[in-house]
Symmetry: C2
Subunit: 347 residues, 2 copies
């Protein structure tokens, strides 16, 4: 266990050498010429004394803190936040960095969010990850530009900042594709009413995928409600009581799918025998626990956190030029997670 009161100086005295030498040895400075014997002695004594470096002093001198700031809009309001943080934390740890986390409200004023970034800058973080908790356009604090930064799960209104986002279209195509593949020809969509990119992109992908499969995508039934269980229930009741009720249902998210499960049960429809359902988000608490298990599309939160951190560190270390990547957001794929809610339609 290292002792917080031991400095490089104490090691130097105990080893009978200068602090410079100790520093050289401990940092394995390439140009330092020090005999193997001295090196050994220094290292041994450092260990004996329980020396541990003072990262503050190091950082002050080297202008590198090895800390990354993560400003997260609404930690914990959604379980997704945790996955982003985890991805970032593990990627950071793997490269010797640590994470300083600040929570901010997505609805907070620009000034307040700017103050949060400012706090990070005062601590001289090497770079900043700015994570929003659902994919949308955000207005960023201007001072974000003072250090390398990457946007996670959203794109900036202004544009030019490196960002990672999920492949909404690909995910939606995979979801609808799974239904088509099982043989469904009457496929419906329960969409969200919020005006976010996902709403539009999933709808478009829904129609396009059907059309490309030779069905009439434009005529396919779509019902929109708030993207919660209740909304899903209501939208599902409407869509399932139409004359041309679908046998395959793509839901905007798992919560709406959960509502659809209830609507189906009330209408005497068994899943998947009478109705196949596919969700989006892979909220495990729901998707894995519904009965039958919900086939859904996973959002790559962990991967986005890790990707962003990886590239941020590359930029900090001068291995990458973020401005080049800022031209287009990086898109990470959303894999289909197969469970038991899809089967072939009744003949």
């Amino acid at each position: 266990m290292s002792n917080r009161n031991i400095g490089i100086k104490d090691v130097a005295v105990a080893a009978g050498v200068s602090v410079t030498t100790v520093s050289h040895v401990l940092n394995e400075v390439s140009y330092a010429r020090i005999s193997p014997e001295t090196r050994d002695k220094v290292r041994t004594i450092a260990e004996q004394l329980g020396y541990g470096p003072n990262r503050l002093a190091q950082a002050l001198r080297t202008q590198r803190t090895g800390m990354l700031g993560l400003v997260s809009e609404d930690i914990a309001t959604t379980p997704h936040a945790g996955r982003i943080i985890l991805g970032a934390e593990e990627a950071a740890k793997a490269r010797g960095y640590n994470l300083m986390i600040i929570n901010t409200s997505g609805s907070a004023s620009l000034e307040s969010r700017q103050a949060d970034v400012e706090a990070l800058l005062e601590r001289r973080v090497d770079g900043i990850l700015y994570a929003t908790m659902y994919h949308r356009n955000v207005e960023l604090p201007a001072n974000l530009g003072s250090v390398p930064s990457v946007l996670v799960d959203s794109v900036a209104t202004g544009g030019n900042i490196t960002a990672v986002i999920p492949d909404e279209e690909g995910g939606a195509r995979a979801a609808v594709g799974a239904l088509l593949e099982a043989g469904h020809t009457r496929v419906g969509f329960l969409n969200n009413t919020d005006d976010v990119p996902a709403t539009r992109q999933r709808l478009q992908a829904f129609r396009a995928t059907l059309t490309e499969a030779g069905l009439d995508g434009d005529a396919a039934p779509v019902e929109s409600e708030v993207s919660e269980v209740q909304g899903g229930y209501e939208a599902a009741r409407r869509i399932l009581t139409r004359e041309d009720a679908p046998t395959g249902l793509f839901c905007y998210n798992d919560r709406m799918a959960m509502g659809a499960y209830r609507a189906a049960a009330e209408l005497g429809l068994t899943i998947p025998a009478d109705l196949s359902v596919v969700g989006f988000d892979d909220q495990e608490l729901i998707a894995a626990n519904l009965h039958p298990g919900l086939t859904t599309v996973a959002l790559p939160h962990y991967e986005m956190g890790a990707w962003a951190t990886e590239h941020l560190i590359d930029a900090v270390e001068g291995k990458t030029d973020l401005t080049l990547m800022a031209l287009h957001p990086t898109i990470l794929s959303c894999p289909l997670v197969r469970r038991d809610s899809i089967t072939a339609p009744r003949p």
Copy 2:
């Protein structure tokens, strides 16, 4: 927007005073005697230049970083982690501190967890929060003792470290009490099979509450299974098909309650008309979204995070002596969250 290259020195030069004076003014040092005019000038120039303090240098000099370390076992494996982090983060921010988060695996070796704490110590955090993601006994890294620290959601095997834990017994009593209050006399319990404090305490509280209400607590039906949806389903099927099937069901957690919902549905039992159910955990994704909404007991994760942070900071600032509080863990209450899964039993 503040400029990272401007130091106190630059402000001093621009204002035509010494760095000492600038430092005095900006920190509002009480014993400093500086004319109002000079103060104004310094402040104005600091603002113009976009001066922002270098917290690293300050920390080096003052031996205070204003950073707290939060080592969290398994961020994001459970949504609870987020609430603890949020509680800690908001409490910290309110008092001018920031959080440095390190994720560690609960199953990781003691050495690896010690290394995580070590990383925090090297950065000279003022204190450490050690959060586990479910209430149990943990073996702590020894170096935790080097700075003030507080344990969140568990107690140490060794004992003497300040800790906050949820009031398992009170929560269980509230849950069972809600059933009794509604008039139920045949009450059952779906328990967990893990050997954790919660398992024993909730069971004991269950029996005691019944007995105190004049019922035969020792004879009340209890079925144990793994604390997941499937386990809840199986345990519920067993308990509901007994001769003395209960009309009120207390479930170890919301996931098991979710399983109980399905079992009830299959057995033709309507909730709450035929069967009243109460859960534990208040996992909103489940509890609020089941139909009918699940009455359950909330775990005070946010509150524990906030409490721990608050008291940790008090200790750091010398306002509290943590060793005094270490004698007994602090217990935070688990409030009952009423939804729609409880009603009076059929006459």
